[in-house]
Amino acid sequence: MDLAKLERRSEFEWRVMPFGRMRVPGVIFASEALLRQMDDKVYEQVTNVAMLPGIVAASYAMPDAHWGYGFPIGGVAAFDPDQGGVVSAGGVGFDISCGVRTLHTGLRHDDIEPLKKQLADTLYHAIPAGLGSTGAIRLEAAQMDAMLRGGAHWAVDQGFGEATDLERIEEGGCMRGADPSQVSEQAKKRQRDEMGTLGSGNHYLEVQQVTDIYAADIAAAFGVKPGDVVVSIHCGSRGLGHQIGTEFLRRMVISAPGYGIDLPDRELACAPIRSPLGQDYLGAMRSAINCALANRQILTHLTRKVFSQLLPQSRLPLLYDVSHNTCKVETQTVDGRPKQLFVHRKGATRAFGPGHPDLPAALRQAGQPVLIGGSMGTASYILAGTRASMQRAFGSACHGSGRAMSRHQALRNWNGRHVVDELAGRGILIRSPSSRGVAEEAPGAYKDVNAVVDSADHAGLACKVARLEPIICIKG
């Protein structure tokens, strides 16, 4: 990105002052080095989002921002319904409520080592991963609607996991306002066999070890210390979310002129929050959030079964579950006054600070855990929301390392088999149905997650708590 187009506000905050049809500034949080690597498309997309009706404060990009659809991936924008604000299917993305959850295991690295290969193979067998894999349960119409209304609550009621999991999930595991009648039959059909599946692409289940602690008090509140083994699951709302995204993007593109919205890019397709289409989308999108929460809950249950079989001394309570493709109604402070805003986070994690009423009692002092996924060979991080993060970008932080190159380029650079062998040499076991998928997801195809997380920390978006390294990765 050409830095001459930006005004530097601090070491990690860059601004695009409004020009043309921009209603608010663009703000990018990143180090100079990360910013230089960012595609110019991020600049274009940040400024395009700033043109949308009812946007409040600024159009934000996180340190892992890269070229997305309409919104950059790593984009955050809030809209005020009282100011003609919009809800955007493109601002949420196809994989609605894609997210990460991390489970404790009560195990130490030494407990895992002798069983590592067996654990990798058993997890790979138990966790449906990759294209064409199907879940163990098939949902008929009435169950589908109950799942879309109930989210992780529904899953727990079905015997997947425990009631104590729910307080460790955003929205207490159930997104209110879901309206399954706004989810098409096609979307439901696409989901019928996909409950409890990981998906493909950048989705994974990893067994990880805690290598470093940066904030001892917060780490203690989160219950992590060096040498601990944890499990992280990254996946989303599967076919249902993809189909809802596809259908509403189309409806919003076609209806935008009728709502008097002149889209700078079709992929920014949106509708006024207070319009029938906006409300229909919110009902469907919230159903997809519940689908993702239920899906991660089922995968948690499958993971626990494997651990209890191989390592009976293990216990896998949920540390936390975050969603990073959402639009949520939140009370945010704007110009010193509380305001109900529709906050879009596209490839961005909610990062509420200490004391926030939406956090469970056990975590309220420490701040919200912010779970940052790496790629197969690289570190993942646990951060925490801070009081300052609420003032930066409506309590939001990055979501992962972000791609540094296309799949196309990755395929030219790496061979899947070699990637698996190289990682095995470093003690990281990869299990995946697709060698080409592994090559496309090679660690080198991603930005340096350490640099991304350092930028998020220094910019005050969230503070670094712990670093995790992969031991086993089940790759979709």
């Binding site: 498309k41 994989d95 294209l131 189309r250 079709r266 296309s406 697709s434 998928g437």
Partner: protein, 140 residues
């Protein structure tokens, strides 16, 4: 005039699919092959079973995205891959046949699942060399 062909073009996070052909229909068919190639080598997919598809949209570019999304939907719900296509366009109304077979994980080694076709880098246009081009980015 250039021959019919498909290709992928880079997108930072995902994949661009592009079809070129002497007519719009041929370009759409080639782009569908590019879509299959995101998942697997189209040469490994035997055109055994036929599926009929239809879509309609307010303009040609939207019809193109609808066409790819109709294929994504059939691939997902039938658990199939397609390797032969026959597209007919009447104005902004498309009807098509697609031939393929059930996904066989051992044989097709699917790389990735396509979530949907997007409006990013969407273009349907006549090229200076007289060939039609149809392209967009697909989310994987």
């Amino acid at each position: 005039m250039s021959a019919e062909r498909w290709e992928h073009f880079p997108h930072e996070a995902d994949m661009g699919v592009r079809g070129l052909g002497a007519t719009l229909e041929r370009a759409f068919e080639q782009a569908a092959l590019a879509l299959t190639a995101v998942v697997t080598d189209p040469a490994t997919v035997t055109p055994l079973e036929r599926v009929s598809l239809a879509c309609e949209a307010p303009d040609t570019e939207l019809v193109f995205v609808d066409w790819l999304n109709a294929l994504v939907y059939e691939m997902a719900t039938r658990s199939m891959l397609f390797s032969r296509f026959e597209v007919r366009l009447q104005g902004h109304r498309l009807s098509a046949k697609a031939w393929g077979e059930a996904l066989d994980i051992a044989r097709h080694h699917p790389a990735v699942e396509v979530k949907g076709a997007t409006y990013t880098a969407l273009k349907v246009a006549l090229q200076p060399d007289g060939a039609w081009l149809a392209q967009c980015v697909v989310d994987v």
